[in-house]
Structure formats: structure tokens, C-alpha cells
């Protein structure tokens, strides 16, 4: 009981810090950061687009590692395996949310700067495929029969994780139109130092928000699992009483 109270306090403090970081980051991005020379105010979407795209490449790893732990613990320690599974589903959902935001902000920017909503360019296509992979993961979880959902989903997660680098490479060969990476993309890459705080705070704020969502979803899933186990225990006890 005391543990619950501690967790709840930590969660609340984390949430408040996250909101504060996001508010500050938004002020930096929309007000303080200088207007970009060629694109104008449209460039400000960069402060949301790049952090969410970076984070949507990070959360699949959490999903993959959690799924590996699930497969490892499945027989030896089923209770602990369930916690790994809760992490897996939470991170898959956060991945879908973040990659959706990344795709949508990218499309808004593309409409304003390129004049088109969408183009089948390497990065756009690989991000769309990442989104498709994790949506199909969530579909499998939704449609599979209870009792084996976790194992099947963990297997699919391994496939998806192996597929992502192959997708990325094959699409690279296919075509490229996206602006060269802003960071580490050659001598002219990088942003003006005056834009750096806005970018950094947005990465931090949205990373904290992603972690908050993940932990929140995790504890929700844990509660669902506990209710399920309780119901199973009661029905077993009920059937034993009838037998007597």
C-alpha cells in the first residue's frame, strides 16, 4: 500500500515536470527561437517533427527487448514475463503514437515547403513502414485468442525488429528526396546555435512525455492482468466448491 503511494507521488511529480518542460520548450520553439531564413515560420514544426521521429525510432527497441525478455521468462517465471509483456504493449502503443505525430507533422511541413502532402521518398516510406509494422503488431494483439496473445505478439515483435533495418536499407536504395539529415549529414548540416535550446528542450520534453505515457500504460496493463488473474482464481475456486 505504501509502495503505491510512493509510485503515485513519483508519477505526479514526473508528470508536472514533463508539463513544465513542454511548456518551456513550446515557448522556446514558437517565440524565442529565431525565424528561419528561407522557410520562415514553417520551419518551427522542425522542433516537433525531429524529436518525435527520433523517439519513434527509440521505443521499438524497448518493445523488442521487452519481447525477448518475455520469451525468455515465459516458461521459467510466468509472473515476471507478464511484466515484460506489459512493457512491450506500452512501448508499441507509444511507438505508434509518436510515429503518427512524426508522419503528420512531416506532411504539414511538406505541403508548405514542397507543395505536396506526400512523396514516396526513402525516409517517408521507411517511417510509414515502421508505422505499418507496429499497427499490425497491435492488430495481432487485438485479434488473437486470449492466453497466447503475449507469445504470438512477442514473436511478431522479433520479426518486426529484424525487418526494420532491412526495410531502411532497401528503401535507401530505392529513392531519396528527404532533406539530408540535419545532424551529421555533411559539412553544411547542423542548425544555428540560437536554435539549439529550443530543439534540445523539445527533445527532453517529448522524451519525458513518452516515458510518462509508457509507464502510465504499463501500470494500466498490469492492473488489467491482475484483474484477469483474480477472475481466473475465483472461477477455479468456484468450480472446486461445486465439485465438493
Amino acid at each position: 500500500m505504501r509502495h503505491t503511494r510512493i509510485y503515485r507521488t513519483v508519477g505526479l511529480v514526473w508528470f508536472l515536470l514533463t508539463v513544465a518542460a513542454i511548456v518551456y520548450a513550446t515557448r522556446l520553439a514558437l517565440v524565442v527561437a529565431p525565424t528561419e531564413a528561407t522557410m520562415g515560420n514553417v520551419q518551427r514544426i522542425f522542433y516537433y517533427h525531429v524529436p518525435t521521429s527520433m523517439l519513434s525510432l527509440l521505443f521499438p527497441y524497448v518493445n523488442f527487448v521487452a519481447s525477448l525478455f518475455y520469451l525468455g521468462w515465459r516458461r521459467r517465471n510466468p509472473m515476471r514475463a507478464l511484466t515484460a509483456d506489459a512493457v512491450a504493449i506500452a512501448s508499441a502503443e507509444v511507438t505508434v503514437v509518436y510515429s503518427s505525430i512524426c508522419l503528420l507533422t512531416g506532411m504539414l511541413w511538406g505541403r508548405a515547403v514542397w507543395g505536396i502532402w506526400w512523396t514516396w521518398d526513402a525516409r517517408l516510406t521507411s517511417m510509414l513502414l515502421l508505422w505499418l509494422l507496429y499497427v499490425s503488431y497491435l492488430m495481432l494483439r487485438k485479434l488473437s485468442a486470449t492466453g497466447q496473445t503475449q507469445t504470438l505478439a512477442a514473436v511478431l515483435s522479433v520479426f518486426a525488429a529484424i525487418d526494420v533495418p532491412i526495410v531502411y536499407m532497401s528503401i535507401q536504395w530505392w529513392r531519396t528526396q528527404h532533406p539530408a539529415p540535419v545532424f551529421g549529414g555533411g559539412p553544411d548540416s547542423g542548425i544555428d546555435p540560437s536554435m539549439m535550446p529550443a530543439f534540445g528542450w523539445n527533445v527532453l520534453g517529448w522524451a519525458m512525455w513518452g516515458v510518462f505515457l509508457l509507464v502510465f500504460r504499463y501500470s494500466l496493463e498490469r492492473r488489467r492482468q491482475e484483474t484477469e488473474q483474480e477472475a481466473a482464481r475465483k472461477s477455479i475456486e468456484g468450480s472446486m466448491e461445486i465439485a465438493q
Partner: protein, 239 residues
């Protein structure tokens, strides 16, 4: 010396019994198909329909058909093989055969390999039969190195069938499993689809080199065949 020999002998025996299991499953699936001919007939007619519908949709000239034929061919085969793959494991559900196989001491991956090979043969037969109508309807002759098709077709087919057989088993006990298979197979297969379509288009048009795409297919096949073999037992005994 003698111990090394006996260990080697044990391994050889193990390998031989594994191949025996694969062969047994393959024979069983081929015999089932020979007696019913459900999968192959269904696939043949289905892919013929797709080819006809696409030629009506695009009304292609010879030059244009070279550009789009590679894509249409694989889309037709992809949809057709989905219809066969969905039936591949439901056959085993009748009379609880699959439960019996789960209890048998034979390695589960041998069963998977046998079934994947059987499905591979079915799709290859469909490809051989479909080759002629396809060439006629689209007025095709390859401008690139035509013989490379002989490498691209089996590689692409194995990429579809190996993962398809695996995901059909994975989706076997889900609700609406007919819908589930394409939902999970398509996103995973996109690199392979890209590889086979690009390689086929390269051979038909002769405008660019198919080699990198063939290499992609080979790498994809090796990686995913290994993953399927390693994880099949987990999927079969998932509960």
C-alpha cells in the same frame, strides 16, 4: 578417435532423421494436394483473374506493360498465395491433427520446413503455368538478361512462402484468421516485395541492374528462414 567417430555418427543420424521428418511432412502435404487439388486450382484461377483485371484497368501498350508487368506479376502471386497459405494449416485442424503433431517427439521446425517446401512447390507450379498467359496478355519479351528470372522467381517465391507459412501458423488460432494473415505478412514482406518487383522490372526493361535486388532477396531469405525455424516451436506451442 572412436568417440569422435560415434559423435559424428550421432550427428549424422540426427540430421538424417530430421531430413526424414521434413520429407515425411512434405510427402503428406503433396499427397493431400494431389487428392484434392484445392490450393493449386484456386491459386491458378485467382492469379489469372488478377492478370485479366489489371490488363483491363491499365490497357497497357508493350512499352508500358514492361514497366508495370513485374509489379502486377508479384501482386497476383502474392494474393494467390495468400489464398493457399490460409488453407495450409486449417487442413491440420481437422480431426485435431495439429494437437497430435504437437505431442509427437518429431522436431516442430521439420514440420514447418516440410509445409513451407510444399507451399513453395505449389506456387512454383502456378508460376510455370501462368507464365504463358502472362507473356501473351502483356506482349512481353525481356530486354535485360532474361535468364535471371530463373533466379528471381524461386527467391521471391520462397520469401513469400516461408514467412507466409509461418504467419499462417501464427494466426491460426486468432479470430478472423483469413484477415490476419495479410495484415501481418504484408508489412513484414515489403523489403522482399520491393526486391522481387524491382529485380523483375530490371530484367524486363533492361534499364538498370537487378543484382543489388537479387542480393537483397538472398539476404532476406537467409535471415527470415533462420528466424522462422528458430521461432516456430514457440508459435506452435503458444498458450
Amino acid at each position: 578417435m572412436s568417440r569422435v567417430q560415434t559423435e559424428l555418427g550421432d550427428e549424422m543420424r540426427g540430421l538424417r532423421s530430421y531430413i526424414g521428418c521434413v520429407w515425411c511432412h512434405l510427402q503428406k502435404d503433396l499427397r493431400l494436394e494431389w487428392r484434392s487439388r484445392d490450393s493449386i486450382n484456386g491459386m491458378l484461377f485467382f492469379s489469372l483473374l488478377v492478370v485479366v483485371v489489371f490488363s483491363i484497368a491499365f490497357d497497357p501498350t508493350a512499352a508500358m506493360s514492361r514497366q508495370i508487368a513485374g509489379g502486377i506479376l508479384w501482386v497476383a502471386l502474392l494474393f494467390a498465395s495468400i489464398t493457399a497459405l490460409n488453407q495450409a494449416w486449417t487442413r491440420e485442424l481437422r480431426n485435431r491433427v495439429l494437437d497430435a503433431q504437437r505431442m509427437s517427439p518429431a522436431p516442430p521446425s521439420a514440420m514447418f520446413l516440410g509445409k513451407a517446401l510444399a507451399n513453395f512447390l505449389f506456387v512454383v507450379i502456378v508460376e510455370i503455368v501462368m507464365a504463358l498467359p502472362f507473356l501473351f496478355f502483356y506482349n512481353l519479351h525481356a530486354l535485360g538478361q532474361g535468364w535471371l528470372i530463373l533466379a528471381i522467381m524461386p527467391l521471391g517465391t520462397w520469401a513469400l512462402v516461408c514467412n507466409g507459412t509461418f504467419f499462417a501458423a501464427l494466426g491460426l488460432r486468432t479470430r478472423n484468421r483469413e484477415l490476419m494473415l495479410p495484415l501481418i505478412l504484408f508489412p513484414i514482406s515489403i523489403p522482399a516485395l520491393l526486391g522481387m518487383m524491382q529485380a523483375t522490372t530490371a530484367v524486363l526493361t533492361g534499364e538498370f541492374a537487378p543484382d543489388p535486388w537479387i542480393r537483397l532477396l538472398v539476404a532476406y531469405n537467409i535471415i527470415f528462414t533462420l528466424v522462422c525455424l528458430l521461432l516456430f516451436e514457440t508459435v506452435l506451442s503458444a498458450e
